[in-house]
């Protein structure tokens, strides 16, 4: 029983931050129909910004809780500002072009951000571990877990519920859903689609950088951080269905549990298991678990 609980908890901890990244990715795809290759770079950017905030606060002799708050505020401000700037200053110019062009534009952004992070933060690993000890340790299933990891579970769930509620139970959310379902009809009904695009992209970037910030205290920030995350995020949204909030949640949980079970039972198959699930889902539901099949417009 303890073993089962350990696997589940490890899987959920892994899923918690992956879900936040994947949620941003799936939202951007749902609204803008852009497969954003640069999404992992925003995750890395958030982690680096958080590390800077935490170390700056610590250097001034302030307690780790201040660092935690500072990292969230700085990432929220900088992440959304960068998202807005990129959407208004770059992506807007390519709307209406082939989807492959937009894919290549986001790939270019990925390459630029990779080098930009190296220029700003250098190539050496950076740590910002002070907030990691903020919530102490908790005993569970015979093991000691760091409280910070467990706090990520309700945080991630709250973000998921808020996004779902915002999309499905508010007027502005309904407008976003209208753009997702039929952009032309939305325009004809007076929806300012460009504004929806800008807000959705900025929000997607904000979620990616927030996930980076939340994981920053427990990892070492170093070049290459973004590519691993984007691969896992793509696997999650493919499993769950591109553009689906529920899909991102279920996909993240499946990936987290598959990885945890593999590490505990068959470590050699860790990566294989994730892609096995993805392949199985694609075989039986090519649109992903939660994406509704839509009629083809002629």
């Amino acid at each position: 029983m303890n073993f089962f609980l350990t696997v589940v908890l490890d899987g959920l901890i892994q899923a918690s931050w992956l879900f936040i990244v994947a949620l941003g990715l799936t939202l951007v795809f749902g609204v803008l129909k852009i497969l954003n290759i640069a999404h992992g770079s925003f995750y890395a950017l958030g982690a680096y910004i958080a590390a800077t905030a935490v170390t700056t606060v610590a250097a001034h002799g302030l307690p780790p809780s201040f660092g935690f708050v500072a990292m969230l505020i700085s990432v929220a401000l900088i992440g959304s500002a960068i998202g807005l700037l990129l959407e208004r200053g770059l992506l807007k110019m390519f709307y209406g072009r082939d989807e492959v062009v937009l894919l290549l534009v986001t790939y270019a952004v990925f390459l630029i951000l990779e080098d930009a992070t190296k220029l700003i933060w250098g190539v050496n690993p950076i740590y910002a571990t002070q907030p990691y000890e903020l919530f102490g340790n908790i005993e569970f299933a015979g093991l000691s877990y760091v409280g910070y990891d467990l706090v990520l579970l309700p945080v991630s769930a709250a973000i998921g519920v808020l996004v779902w509620f915002g999309l499905n139970r508010t007027v502005k959310g309904k407008i976003v859903l209208a753009v997702i379902h039929n952009e032309e009809m939305s325009v004809s009904m007076g929806v300012r689609v460009n504004r929806v695009y800008a807000v959705a992209f900025a929000f997607g970037v904000l979620l990616a950088s927030l996930a980076g910030a939340l994981t920053a205290p427990k990892i070492s920030m170093q070049p290459g951080l973004s590519s691993d995350v984007i691969i896992l995020s793509f696997a999650i949204v493919v499993i769950g269905g591109l553009g689906s909030v529920e899909g991102a949640a279920v996909g993240a949980i499946l990936v987290g549990l598959a990885r945890a079970a593999s590490v505990h039972l068959m470590p050699q198959a860790e990566l294989f298991m994730i892609y096995l699930i993805m392949a199985a889902v694609l075989m039986f539901r090519p649109e992903g678990l939660f994406k509704r099949e839509t009629a083809r417009r002629i």
Binding site: P125, N137, Y145, D149, K218, S220, P223, V263, Q268
Partner: protein, 436 residues
């Protein structure tokens, strides 16, 4: 008039003879230099822990060689009077890129020798290229034993011992210190270095701890960064010993995540190459961890005029004491200097050809800051050296992790003899080891 003319002619003749004699005695002109390609990680996850310290170590030694400021026997300027001209390139970017960069160094930059490489995958990729081009390559750091055990090379040398030494040294240390190991868990990166280290450690454990049982055997990918699930598996297993060859940012992340979850309290941590993470981790490094440094390096190095010069000079130049990569770069450069000067002694002082250099380097022995280096394996192409193992203890006064309970093992105690594959030697009971 005739008298003065005769004197003038005699003086001119004497001058010409003197000049000719000097030219014969010192064929290397003052302008001649030795162009040395240096490859090390300047970016990426290996840069901070290995690549940059290696670059700094190389820079420090070369700067001083070019000023003839090293202690004896290395006090001659540069390499045999030739100034050393380094061409440093970044090892980051993967093995395919390194193959192309190596060709560029030889064919475009016209370097005399290429020296470097930290990644085992990179070493395995570039060695056949140097052999194909018939150019001399000195591997200075990478640890996989497979390079010379699977292929025979004429133009390739490795001036540092391979991973077998690290793991045999660890097991011998644990046995000497009566460390209990009825059960064992492992976590190593899933590539050449991690897998080879794991195989050597398990094989050596089977010899000195025949009843030890392997419980959890994890192989996360290189650069994984997050080890929450792996730590759960290791803590759940509750083994007497947890062994790892993780290094750099991965090792730091693992320790930072494992310590608050109580892994160091539940199991004896044993790391094969961990000295380089002591300065950045400081008091977050658990006390009592058994570590190796892949040699008798840094805080485990032994006193000698050469080591004192290197340790203090490097520390003064870089603001931090030298760790293993800096030592291995210095020993590679000093080995190459010894080979160049040995070849020049034989050829009358001319700049040696590649073949003359290869002949001089084969089977060479030289003193380094980390002790005596002997090219004894792989027909004189693979080095053996002594190793030190110790335990960590944080010193709150100096705010530094000290290394205590240090034990030294001679090179021939922890390295296989010539002609025997490492794993076969370990599995055969480490026959012929000279430990006294």
């Amino acid at each position: 008039m005739n008298h003065f003319a005769r004197i003038h002619r005699t003086a001119a003749l004497l001058s010409a003879v003197t000049a000719a004699t000097l030219a014969l005695a010192e064929p290397v002109s003052a302008e001649e230099s030795f162009k040395l390609g240096i490859v090390t990680f300047l970016s990426g996850p290996a840069a901070d822990s290995f690549g940059v310290p290696a670059r700094n170590g190389g820079q420090f030694v070369i700067d001083n060689l070019n000023k003839a400021a090293l202690p004896a026997p290395y006090n001659k300027l540069g390499f045999g009077g030739m100034k050393v001209e380094p061409v440093v390139i970044d090892e980051n970017g993967g093995a395919t890129k390194q193959v192309q960069e190596l060709r560029n160094l030889y064919e475009r930059e016209k370097v005399d020798v290429v020296l470097g490489y930290i990644g085992s995958g990179d070493c395995l990729a570039v060695a056949p290229i140097a052999e194909e081009l018939k150019k001399m390559l000195v591997l200075m750091d990478c640890g996989t034993p497979r390079i010379f055990e699977e292929t025979k090379y004429n133009y390739v040398f490795r001036t540092a011992a391979h991973a077998t030494m690290d793991n045999v040294g660890l097991i011998r240390y644990m046995k000497a210190k009566n460390v209990k190991m009825d059960t064992l868990s492992l976590i190593n990166q899933d590539y050449a270095w991690g897998q080879d280290s794991r195989a050597d450690f398990v094989a050596a454990a089977r010899q000195l701890y025949p009843d030890a049982k392997v419980q959890t055997d994890l192989l996360p990918k290189f650069g994984a960064g997050q080890y929450g699930t792996e730590i759960s598996a290791l803590v759940s297993a509750g083994s007497d010993v947890v062994y790892s060859s993780l290094w750099g940012g991965d090792l730091q992340a693992f320790i930072l995540q494992a310590s608050p979850r109580g892994l160091p309290k539940r199991s004896q941590l044993v790391f094969s190459a961990a000295d380089h993470v002591l300065p950045p981790l400081s008091d977050r490094m658990p006390d009592g961890t058994i570590i190796g440094a892949r040699g008798a390096y840094g805080l485990m190095s032994q006193k000698s005029p050469l080591n004192d010069w290197f340790f203090k000079g490097y520390e003064a130049a870089n603001g931090i004491y030298p760790v293993q990569a800096a030592y291995r770069m210095s020993q590679a450069i000093l080995g190459l200097k010894s080979a160049v000067e040995k070849a020049m002694d034989k050829n009358g002082g001319k700049k040696p050809s590649t073949d003359e250099l290869v002949a001089a380097m084969t089977g060479l022995e030289w003193q380094s800051p980390g002790g005596l280096i002997q090219m004894k394996l792989a027909d004189g192409h693979q080095a053996i050296q002594p190793i030190a193992i110790s335990r960590t203890k944080y010193n709150p006064d100096s705010k530094r992790v000290d290394l205590v309970d240090i034990q030294y093992f001679p090179a021939e105690c922890v390295n296989p003899p010539p002609g025997v594959k490492s794993l076969d030697w370990i599995k055969g009971g480490m026959q012929g080891a000279k430990c006294n």
